[in-house]
Every structure is written in structure tokens, then in C-alpha cells.
Symmetry: C2
Subunit: 213 residues, 2 copies
């Protein structure tokens, strides 16, 4: 797969959606799909989809539809899902626990190595094969095991300082659930923020619109 430089964030954010829908088709045993059909599934236009795929050298076969298997493999390659990246999770409250127990890190490109918390009640416990360690061991662990990313499910007030220190210890990406801006722009470390409130406000807007009709 040939990648072009400077692929826009909007395109990148659509790739996981493509992959999600295509891998569910693959799991159902489907083998081919047209850009038109894929566009319908995703609420996009066929030409948009072809343009997006062209950013990565295209996946060929205009007029014959795409091979779902090839698309999935291509997207796995582009997204880097098969490179065995590693993660640690910090903050084993309800949200941290929900991620450890119910979220498949593996199918999204990451092995979750272990989790950290300061609560003696959870330190030493294991869930879903993941051990909870004392947060006082965090930086020594990061130095030794060099996880690629850290998942932040800690209270928001401590998030920016924690994030900065993790980056100083070599962490190369942050998945931030704290709702707090981490202010790492200058460091060139990618951060993905999960803002529940943005999502709910968008729903609020839409519910209002249906009222006004």
C-alpha cells in the first residue's frame, strides 16, 4: 500500500469506520462490495469513498467492486492494527474497569500490558488477564517495558501533569478519557480525547431540532 503524505484528519477519522463496517461484512462471509453500496452503509457518497481510498493508493478494481478481504487487510496495514503496539491503563475506577473488562484492545491494534491505580483495594487484583499495579511503580514500569500509549481514566485534575510525565518517560500516544485538555501540542505526541459531553450535546441539539419541526 502506498501512502500519500498529509492525509487530512477528516479522512483518517473515517478509516476506522470503514474498517468497522468492512470487518463486520467479512465476518458474515461477504467477499465483494461496490463503493456505492459501502457509501449507503456509511451515509457517505461513493465518490467520497473512492477519494479517501485514493489517498492510500486506492484499492483498485473500478467497476468490479472492492475485495472486502483486501480492503480489510489494507486498512489494517494503514491503521497499523497488526503491529502489536502496547498500552498501559492508569486509573481503575468504573470507566477503567469497563475498558479492561469489555473493550477489546487486541482487535484495535493494542495489547494492554497492565493497569495502575493508587487504591489498595484493587492493587494486585486481575481482571481479564490484566493485573492492577501500584501507581507508585508506574514510571519504573514505563521505563522498562516501553508501552506505546497510555490510557488515562484518572480524575481530570491530575491528568495534565501525569500525561506530561508519561511523555517524558517515552510514551508516544495518549488516549484521554478525563475530559481535561492535556496541553501536549508542542511535544508532537498524538492525543485522542474522548469527550462524552460533546457527544451528548450534539444529541441534545438534534433532539431540539425534532421538537421544532
Amino acid at each position: 500500500m502506498e501512502k500519500k503524505q498529509n492525509v487530512s484528519r477528516a479522512v483518517i477519522q473515517r478509516l476506522p469506520r470503514y474498517y468497522r463496517h468492512l470487518s463486520s461484512l467479512r465476518a458474515k462471509g461477504e467477499t465483494r462490495i461496490s463503493s456505492r453500496k459501502l457509501a449507503e452503509m456509511l451515509g457517505l457518497t461513493a465518490s467520497q469513498i473512492r477519494q479517501d481510498f485514493n489517498c492510500f493508493g486506492g484499492f483498485g478494481q473500478q467497476g468490479y467492486g472492492y475485495s472486502i478481504e483486501k480492503l480489510c487487510e489494507g486498512l489494517e496495514d494503514i491503521l497499523g492494527l497488526k503491529r502489536a503496539h502496547t498500552a498501559v491503563l492508569i486509573g481503575v475506577g468504573n470507566l477503567g474497569r469497563a475498558l479492561i473488562k469489555n473493550f477489546s484492545f487486541e482487535s484495535n491494534g493494542f495489547k494492554l500490558l497492565c493497569a495502575f491505580d493508587s487504591d489498595r483495594m484493587v492493587i494486585g487484583s486481575g481482571m481479564n488477564g490484566v493485573t492492577v499495579r501500584d501507581v507508585s511503580e508506574l514510571y519504573a514500569y514505563v521505563d522498562q517495558h516501553k508501552p506505546d500509549i497510555a490510557v488515562l481514566t484518572v480524575p481530570h485534575a491530575i491528568a495534565p501533569a501525569l500525561a506530561r510525565k508519561l511523555v517524558e518517560h517515552g510514551v508516544r500516544g495518549l488516549w484521554n478519557f478525563t475530559g481535561e485538555d492535556l496541553h501536549l501540542e508542542n511535544l508532537g505526541v498524538p492525543v485522542e480525547n474522548v469527550h462524552f459531553s460533546d457527544n451528548l450535546m450534539t444529541l441534545c441539539y438534534q433532539v431540539n431540532q425534532t421538537e421544532e419541526k
Copy 2:
């Protein structure tokens, strides 16, 4: 505030981000901001921000900067954050619990009326002022109390059937954490999906890019 019709989804999705940043400035006692400064904070261009605000009749005062208070009030009005919408939550596992305990529904436009689960161990318990009821009472409760939206934190397999039935009972919006497509397109009911995996895959892509540089 005058609203134009057919505001694009991209604009709508930026509004909560504007509101989040502006209300944090308001909380710090700031009173005015230029579109240029706001653009810097958000990683957008000033002209993009002016265009977005123009979709809603603008917030005036070119050259003098915007009043943060007026912007916040305008956005609260547009997003419908002060209309006392109501919500119920279904599925009090770790994620449901995390939302009940740590997420402020009120500051995002909703009052969380109560939660539902099928587990006898949690039915009848209260957390953060929210009572967990037996899911067998769900539809009778919805008929009587007419919540505007339902928050789905149930196992993914049961989500589509549950969502459809909630809509039949008058629920007007769904906040879907199950990762499952609800297939409600034909019903005209807004759905906001929280796809953790899309977010993590986007991070995976970016971490890969930093490797290749």
C-alpha cells in the same frame, strides 16, 4: 438567536467544542475573545469560526472580539442545554456506573431520571441520587415519565431490539455506547454513537505515523 436551516453535521459537532472551551474561559473570569484567539485554542481558522457562528446569525462585534458570556448563552440556547431534557440509562455495568457517578448530565442539558438493570444485586440501589430500577418496569416507566432520551450501556447483542422498542414507546433520541449499529435510520430518531474503537484506531494510525518519520 436566529438559526439557519440545514446546518451541516460538521458545524453542529464543533458547537460543543466551542461551548466547552468558552465555558472554561467564562469560569476563569475571562470576558472577551477574538475569533483569532479562539481559533488558536481550537486548532481551527478564524474565518472558519466566523462562518460557523454566521450559521446561527453570528454573535456580532467584528473587530471588537466576542463577548464570552453572550457566546456561552447563545450556544446554550442553540444546543438546547437549558431546556431540562430528561434521560434514562439502561445497563448499570461498569460503564453505566461510570456515567452515573462521574458524568454531569445536568451540565450537558439532561436530567438523569433513573437507571435500569436486570441484576438483583444492583436493583434498588442508588448512586449519585439516581435509583436503579428493575428493567422489567422500563416501558411502563417510559410511558409514564416520557424521558427524552435513553442512554444504552447494555450488552451489544440486545441493543437494536431494545432501541427500537424504546422509540416505539416515545423515546426521541439515543446515546449509544454499545458499539452496535441500531438501524433506526428510517425512524428519524437521532442516535449518537460512542465508538471507543474508532477513537483508538485513529490514535494507532497517528502513533504509526510518528514511527515512520
